[in-house]
């Protein structure tokens, strides 16, 4: 039996950016790590707090309403360089909805004003009044095998990966994805995933949850042993997928 490891997750702006049950993703990672025999603490990071990204094993940020998103994005820019350095080193990060949009160069809001993003990737987002809402299934090459990922999307922003070399999180089988046009959903870079999928994402997609868990372990130089009983997770995944594809 390997020794118990202690993992730290930074939950960015939990008060501002927490729509649509996204905190379920954190509950999921924490529980699964416990079931694998390890320990996990989640630290809320609020506005104006500075953080040492190198001290964390994972980063999570969700979506918020327009006004709150504006506050968070401004604050996040302060430490952009530190963050990018850690992402390059393989810091696992899950950025949903608004947080995903921030990763790009800009977000063009309803009033045509451009909200500056972190500029990590050559992607941009444009607001359109009709929201893209509904269940979604994508096919993802997260691991060697292609896996389906299910969720629910609800966004007014249309995101475009401007650079052909950027890899999406998956391709849309049913639903809208980044913009409802090019069949792409989200963004994948090293151990970072940006996506519009909530629902929340991880509990029903244990493959994605374990992708993060293994990456977190690797960052600490350990390996996770054993497998979990995913009877209910797999059932929920299948049930959702069938509901979407037969609708």
């Amino acid at each position: 039996m390997s020794k118990i490891a202690q993992f730290r997750i930074a939950h960015l702006y939990p008060r501002l950016m927490n729509l649509y049950g996204d905190r379920g993703n954190l509950i999921c990672i924490q529980k699964r790590l416990q079931w694998y025999g390890h320990d996990c603490i989640i630290e809320p990071i609020n506005l104006h707090e500075s953080l040492d990204y190198s001290a964390y094993d994972m980063l999570f940020m969700g979506g918020g309403s327009a006004q709150e998103q504006r506050l968070a994005s401004k604050d996040w820019l302060r430490q952009a360089d530190d963050l990018w350095a850690e992402l390059e080193k393989g810091l696992p990060a899950l950025c949903i909805c608004g947080a995903f949009q921030f990763l790009g160069s800009y977000y063009e809001a309803a009033d045509s004003q451009k909200l500056k993003g972190l500029g990590f990737f050559d992607l941009y987002t444009i607001y359109e009044p009709d929201r893209l809402i509904g269940n979604i299934v994508i096919a993802s090459q997260l691991t060697e095998e292609t896996t389906t990922v299910v969720g629910f999307e609800n966004h007014s922003g249309r995101t475009y990966l401007h650079d052909d070399t950027l890899q999406p999180f998956g391709t849309v089988l049913e639903g809208f994805g980044n913009n409802g046009q090019d069949g792409q959903e989200g963004l994948r870079y090293k151990n970072l995933i940006g996506t519009y999928l909530h629902g929340p994402l991880l509990p029903k997609n244990p493959v994605v949850a374990d992708f993060f868990i293994h990456a977190m372990a690797e960052r600490q130089g350990i390996t996770i042993s054993g497998t979990l009983n995913d009877r209910l997770e797999d059932f929920a995944h299948r049930q959702t997928k069938q509901r979407i594809l037969n609708d």
Partner: protein, 468 residues
């Protein structure tokens, strides 16, 4: 004189109401929809038959209970009124309610109209009729996928009431409504609570409205009464709770709700802080209508919880309780009530994702299911059912329940029977909107069957009469 078109619309809709009653159908939107196709001005015309005043009751939580309480008060006073019961709170359901109460010529008049209205339907409704008052109980997250975000719903309601003579009745403890006065210039009446013995200082998990509606800075709270309702101020721009016109004070919650509204003593068989707010809102409206204190007291004291909001069934010697849950706050309330029950419990949760439930089921993750996963909560088994039984099961698993006690039966009847097969002193059936009536039917059928021929259909018949 009504036109032939109006009379046809009324006649057809009345026939449809009759038919759906015979078929045992709960749907009340359809007759109104058809009538509106035949005569698009039907609601406007029938609203003209209201001689005194119309009241619109909206908000995220508590509008059904609040509206029913006001109805009970008007009934006690002996007024005649139109009231869209049974949660038919879209414009079509409201049209049905007017037609149901009207005579065939569309001429019968009423003193009042009490219209429980879905938040997103308020702007539509205001195009067709002008109430004296719009009461907003509160704003919480609810079925966001239908409206986009809460902000836009609030914005639409504000736009709809601006430049009218409508009076607003608002919750002074809810930071999401305090800017209504500034933004609309309307006359606002406020209800709210003084500090109570049940307040907390800890920030709970509620996510909405903790930011100042004027300047977007984070709000400071002196105390929380319930979720984001409490005493707050903004250290940036100085905004704070508005001054109350109707103040709840000296609140007691056990063995029943008892408190003062200004100088009027109120007691009610209901439970929970959220119901104290519903009562306070209902009493505030009664005061605005001008109803005497003793009538209000008597009506509230005699008003009992209704179907879907903690309805009881006896199935053999098993006590079953059915509860409607439709959003995180509602689920939290139910779980809190469950926690006060020391009996051993079998839990059933039917989760659907139809339009009426909200297509997005992620709201179950915003509820504090962890609050009942501790060992002394007395939950012995959990049966998950409905179209999204899998999502429900995962929520309980990740809240810390042992996977061994979680079972999944997507079919409602199979699920209900599986739940009743478990050992427990009380059986709780939590249902989302579109599983509520089918589950209720199954439960009352099982209850009837278990009682043999003693009182055939007793429970059901009583319910139908009250629903009309």
């Amino acid at each position: 004189m009504q036109t032939i078109r109006t009379i046809t619309a009324i006649a057809v809709a009345k026939l449809l109401i009759c038919l759906s009653r015979i078929l045992g159908n709960q749907g009340t939107a359809f007759p109104g929809r058809i009538a509106r196709k035949i005569d698009p001005h039907i609601l406007q015309k029938l609203a003209g038959n209201v001689k005194e005043e119309m009241y619109i009751i909206t908000g995220t939580n508590g509008k059904t209970t609040t509206t029913n309480m006001i109805a009970r008060i008007l009934e006690e006073k002996g007024y005649s009124f139109v009231h869209n019961r049974a949660g038919a709170n879209m414009i079509t359901g409201i049209t049905t309610a007017f037609i149901k109460e009207s005579d065939i010529f569309g001429k019968r008049s009423f003193e009042y109209a009490l219209l429980e209205t879905d938040e997103a339907n308020v702007p539509l409704l205001l195009k067709e009729l002008t109430p004296r008052v719009v009461l907003i109980t509160n704003f919480f997250r609810d079925q966001l996928d239908r409206y986009g975000e809460l902000d836009s719903t609030i914005g639409l309601i504000k736009d709809a009431v601006r430049d009218t003579d409508i009076e607003l009745v608002l919750n002074a403890d809810d930071p999401l409504v305090v800017h209504f006065h500034n933004d609309t210039g309307l006359h606002c009446w406020y209800f709210g609570f003084e500090p109570t013995d049940y307040d907390v200082w800890e920030d709970d998990e509620s996510r909405e409205g903790r930011f100042c509606s004027f300047c977007a800075a984070e709000l400071q709270y002196e105390r929380f009464h319930y979720a984001q309702l409490g005493k707050f101020y903004c250290s940036n721009c100085g905004s704070h709770n508005p001054r109350r016109n109707f103040t709840g004070h000296n609140l007691r919650m056990t063995p029943e709700i008892r408190f003062m509204v200004n100088d009027l003593e109120i007691s009610s068989p209901y439970l929970g802080f959220y119901n104290a707010y519903n009562i306070l809102a209902a009493v505030s409206v009664a005061k605005l209508v001008g109803i005497q204190d003793d009538v209000v007291q008597k009506a509230i004291a005699s008003y009992q919880p209704r179907a879907g909001r903690m309805e009881q069934f006896m199935i053999g010697d098993k006590k079953a309780i059915q509860v409607l849950v439709k959003n995180p706050t509602g689920l939290n309330q139910t779980l809190a009530t469950l926690n006060t029950d020391v009996s051993s419990k079998a839990l059933f949760f039917a989760l659907n994702d139809n339009h009426g439930d909200g297509r997005d089921v992620s709201w179950i993750w915003d509820a504090q299911v962890e609050a009942i996963s501790c060992t002394d909560s007395g939950v012995k088994s959990i049966t998950c059912s409905g179209l999204r039984s899998g999502d429900a099961a995962l929520r309980f698993k990740y809240a810390g329940f042992d996977e061994e006690i979680i079972e999944v039966e997507s079919d409602l009847e199979a699920g209900i029977k599986a739940c009743l097969n478990n050992e427990a002193e009380v059986y709780y059936f939590l249902c989302t909107y579109t599983t509520l009536f089918p589950s209720g039917k199954i439960l009352s059928r099982l209850a009837r069957k278990s009682q043999g021929r003693k009182q055939p259909g007793h429970v059901r018949r009583k319910l139908t009469v009250r629903g009309e």
